[in-house]
Symmetry: C2
Subunit: 406 residues, 2 copies
């Protein structure tokens, strides 16, 4: 059994780095607050006897030796970056839970056959730089390191510049640390476990994701003197797109969602009809065929709206992540650990994307979910209980022991 | 006849202060560019022999003596500030046309009975500080000087601070320069004169304006893991409000318009359902009863949308300007000047608000419109012809001579 109080202490100690007034965390990837938590994490890993290295995209790897160093390491971990209005658990539980596993094994004097590697992946959230789960995507070869280094945030700062500004462009090439498999602990970020009174979610699949960048070009004109029928209003166009997206996701539901999270009017003014808007779209489904249907319906709806309103709408698909089906053997290992420990559990699909979904494309991967309050995440009010966090960490530890061998 | 080439030269010389790549002007009120054009204007007025003073809100007054200084001055002018993506004529034609009238009278050695006062009003546009036509509203007593000085722009800078930062907080109290009447020359900012092939618009009325500040409070949550039916999406709410506003304005049309020009998502992120949005609304009609109906319908629609979507929507009416009915004698004087000069004309309603609408509440006022290309305004492509600008300035001059007495 892990040390529940110590885990809880780590979570709340690091929550100071970017703490918000409403009790959440604002720790955008590669920000000053991210540097603070990274420094804390490196020190904690070193104190736990791990050999810590940082790769060229800033991901941190802490290795615990195994008896048989010819075996590939069992990867565990998650991310320490948050949304602009994020919570204390999303990513953090999985990373500090992995650290807690190491600390517990150390205290108990337990050696494993295969080495264990604790990982903090850079930019899982994807709110500062697209795509989400950026560093693990580069790790599995979906993008080159140089491509990712040149991605820009909204202010034009590149990933490379941001890494340098906090001193976290690591000395190791991406992929230097070979892993044999990866297990990630995470809060559910949805309402199912709580509603059903289950402690552990055994994640068997994950939704696919479509991310688009959009731009509407209408025509700026005077709010007072331009008759309604002559307008080419970019905001009215966006409004129709938002509602069309909502209707399309509902039509393909319950296994589909669609969101417009960002929309910026260029040169806004109270008495000017908006002429230009940049926006983003996020569509998801666990079913590849539904993802295709979402894409098709959305493009058709946007084309119709644009033609009718005589405005130009451009959309670019900037990221397509297919649905994830986790490794059956690892799923069974997680399920078995939960059972052995006496926790109630159920199979579950992840609505969110996770680094484990990327890793699953080149190695066996799996995930452990614990409930979060009212299913709320990406919100400062995100919450989870200490016993649930401890239960998830125990399941993670027993899964790792089963895989790594004692 | 005024000097058409000299007028055209002034317009294009001052267009350098804030010139944009697309041929427009970005000269927000009380900005560094506004200081440049104010310095130019003061110097030009002084060189034309005017006695120039600035009031406590930065409005500039250039007085040309009359034979009978016991008579109240005839006010002419407009504004030199622009929208963020504004044109070269909106306000500028009226201000530099007033200067051109003075220069022409000087050249011809014409004295008038009553004095003439050229005015450049501060913040007519209302895009940096609300309300629009701010300084003339204070002049007529709709707001106190202190109230206006404390209004803030989006960065939190007050009018008082902005005035000080460019050295234009004048030595004279607001209202120091008494005026007997006011005549304003302006581009139409709508399509009617051009469509009908008329040179002069004799403005007999102006639309009333309702300005609101709005705020939507929904709930931020995860774009991937929050099922569609559980969302409290602030952007979907705004989208319904935008389309409701459009439908309501159309329903009450053609004599009504409604626009949402600003909308800002708090802490936007691609994979977060928007939780909070601040926005503004602008509704107008030349008919007071329709203005009331717009307000009523809009509030009812917003209440229904908010309740159905389980979000909170607050709206504050921050400005209500009733419809304007200009002075019949001055309207006749403008019409007569156009006729005498041989220009085709028609009566017209102003879709936009103007300083003359404020002045009309305490003194006789009137306006002269000239056509602008395709009715486009509040856009960098705003355009007008040299002959039309000259014709409008001639009508302004002859109207002034008729009122001031030669
Ligand atoms: N777990 C999580 O919230 N990841 C962020 C990426 C996404 O799913 O949008
Ligand atoms: N003339 C003009 O564009 N004024 C700006 C104020 C408004 O009507 O919105």
């Amino acid at each position: 059994q892990i040390d529940s109080a110590r885990l809880w202490g780590s979570i709340h100690e690091t929550a100071q780095f970017g703490a918000t007034a409403k009790g959440g965390v604002r720790r955008l990837t590669l920000s000053a607050e991210d540097k603070q938590v990274r420094d804390w994490f490196r020190k904690a890993c070193e104190e736990a006897g791990l050999e810590v290295h940082t790769d060229a995209l800033g991901s941190q790897f802490g290795l615990r030796k195994g008896r048989d160093m010819s075996k590939l390491a069992v990867g565990i971990g998650s991310h320490l970056d948050t949304q602009p209005t994020g919570g204390k658990y999303d990513g953090i539980l999985g990373t500090l839970g992995a650290l807690e596993v190491i600390r517990t094994l150390n205290d108990a004097g337990i050696e494993t056959e295969a080495p264990i590697c604790v990982v903090n992946w850079t930019n899982e959230e994807g709110s500062r730089f697209a795509p989400a789960m950026m560093a693990s995507a580069a790790y599995v070869g979906d993008f080159t390191t140089d491509d990712i280094l040149s991605r820009k945030d909204i202010e034009g700062t590149t990933v490379g510049q941001a890494l340098d500004s906090i001193g976290y462009r690591g000395e190791k090439p991406v992929g230097f640390q070979k892993l044999g498999c990866f297990v990630e602990l995470h809060i559910e970020q949805g309402p199912i476990l709580e509603a059903e009174g289950k402690t552990i979610g055994v994640v068997d699949s994950g939704q696919g994701v479509l991310w688009y960048d959009g731009k509407i070009s209408g025509f700026e004109s005077h709010a007072g003197s331009t008759p309604m029928p002559l307008r080419r209003d970019a905001l009215a166009t966006l409004s129709e797109i938002v509602l069309a997206m909502e209707a399309i996701a509902k039509k393909h539901g319950p296994n589909a969602v669609g969101t417009i999270g960002e929309a910026v009017i260029a040169n806004p003014s109270r008495n000017v009809i908006p002429g230009e808007i940049a926006f983003t779209m996020d569509c998801r489904s666990a079913d590849g065929a539904i993802m295709d249907a979402l894409d098709r319906d959305l493009r058709a709806a946007i084309a119709e709206i644009a033609a009718r309103r005589k405005v130009e709408v451009k959309i670019d698909l900037v990221w397509r992540k297919p649905p994830t089906h986790f490794d059956p053997k690892l799923i069974a290992a997680v399920e078995n650990a939960a059972k052995t420990l006496g926790y109630s559990s159920r199979r579950i699909t992840s609505g969110a994307g996770h680094d484990a979904c990327n890793l699953n494309t080149i190695m066996p991967a799996a995930m452990v979910f614990v409930p979060c309050k009212d299913g709320i995440s990406h919100n400062e009010l995100e919450d989870a209980t200490q016993p649930d966090c401890a239960a998830g960490t125990n399941v993670l530890m027993h899964t790792v022991l089963a895989i790594a061998g004692v």
